[in-house]
Amino acid sequence: METIYDVIIVGSGPAGLTAGLYTSRANLKTLCVAGEKWGGQLMLTTLVENYPGFSEGIQGPDLMASMRKQAEKFGVEVVEKDASEVDFTKRPFEVSTGSFNTSPHLGRSIIIATGAEFNWLNLPNEQRLIGRGVSSCATCDAAFFRGKKVVVVGGGDAAMEEALVLSRHATEIVIVHRRDKFRASKIMQDRVMADPKIRVIWNVEVKDVLGADKVEGVVLSDGQTLVTDGLFVAIGHSPATKIFAGKVSLGTRGYAQREGDKYWTMSNVPGVFVSGDVHDYTYRQAVTAAGYGCEAALDAERWLEEQKS
């Protein structure tokens, strides 16, 4: 007899792991389809200063490892596979992980917590130069730019963090932003503006990146070419909802919709719940994602209870 889980969580960032913590503590048999790259966006950060409870801050990957351990302690099973396909027309619901010779995982309820994926600029030579000066992760790669010049693209908190991390290593950081002001939080903007190594070019976009074997420059929309050794892209994220298209209702930008009435976190499919950045365009914080994960877990628990009676 194949295992039927009470809850299958798709995703393993703060939303997914918090949901798992709650469902497993409610004695619901829980599977977390974590993805090959588990842990979500915080795995690419350094010091997280705004997650409450850690007065000195905590390293993003350490926070996620701890959340995972906490969820597993109460019985969540974690599989490090990508969900490849879902079927929400059947009961129990099906979540496939695309491995050979394995049947789909079966769940009485689903919590979608796949979060958001990194956006590239889609420049002609961008993909070719990834790992050769083009990067999406200053915390991973900044040390390779000791004594070099770099360009950061973006205007949100992520771009500010990239620039500040790079400032510890590089000699000159240029932030290229397509608007005339940043969307980043005030405290991050202030740190950037106070950093003598960082300067900003406003109202300009990056059109292409130059270089044969490594980045040598970037072409800007005002026609100038900046000589640089690196291009760090931090222009935000899009919801990771590709596998859910046509399965649950998605909003205009592809965000999963919470449409429940009695259960606020429920999608348009009864028994399928939504939590975290996959539905949240507005707040997008680790702590809000964790909160949404908790909400979805409590809703799933109550909904499952209701199905029994």
């Binding site: 090959e36 690419l44 790992g131 915390t139």
Partner: protein
């Protein structure tokens, strides 16, 4: 077998014959915390077929620069010391298996 720590002193000697898969990593790199355990798994699964090695880019900056590694984790696959493929960024276990499969049916 555990993944072998490679240094500029023994890199060429260890990698010059047969297949080798080398993970360039560092202590401060978040995604390397994910790739590390997967590389260890592959090391035991491919014992005798592929030498699975690790290069700490902080300790061995000249190896990183020699192979143009500017982003970590980067995993490079070598045959007889010649680069045959590379995966930049953490790709998950499947990503590394795909890298092996793309170059040779290992």
């Amino acid at each position: 077998m555990a993944a072998v720590n490679l240094t500029s002193g023994d890199f060429d000697d260890k990698v010059k014959t047969g297949w080798a898969m080398v993970d360039f990593w560092a202590e401060w790199c978040g995604p390397c915390k994910m790739s590390g355990p997967v590389i260890e798994e592959l090391a035991s699964e491919y014992t005798g077929k592929v030498l699975v090695g690790k290069v700490d880019v902080d300790a061995q900056p000249e190896l990183a620069s020699r192979f143009g590694v500017m982003s970590i984790p980067t995993v490079i696959l070598y045959e007889n010391g010649v680069e045959k493929g590379r995966q930049v960024g953490y790709a998950g276990k499947q990503g590394y298996l795909n890298l092996l499969a793309s170059v040779k049916n290992l």
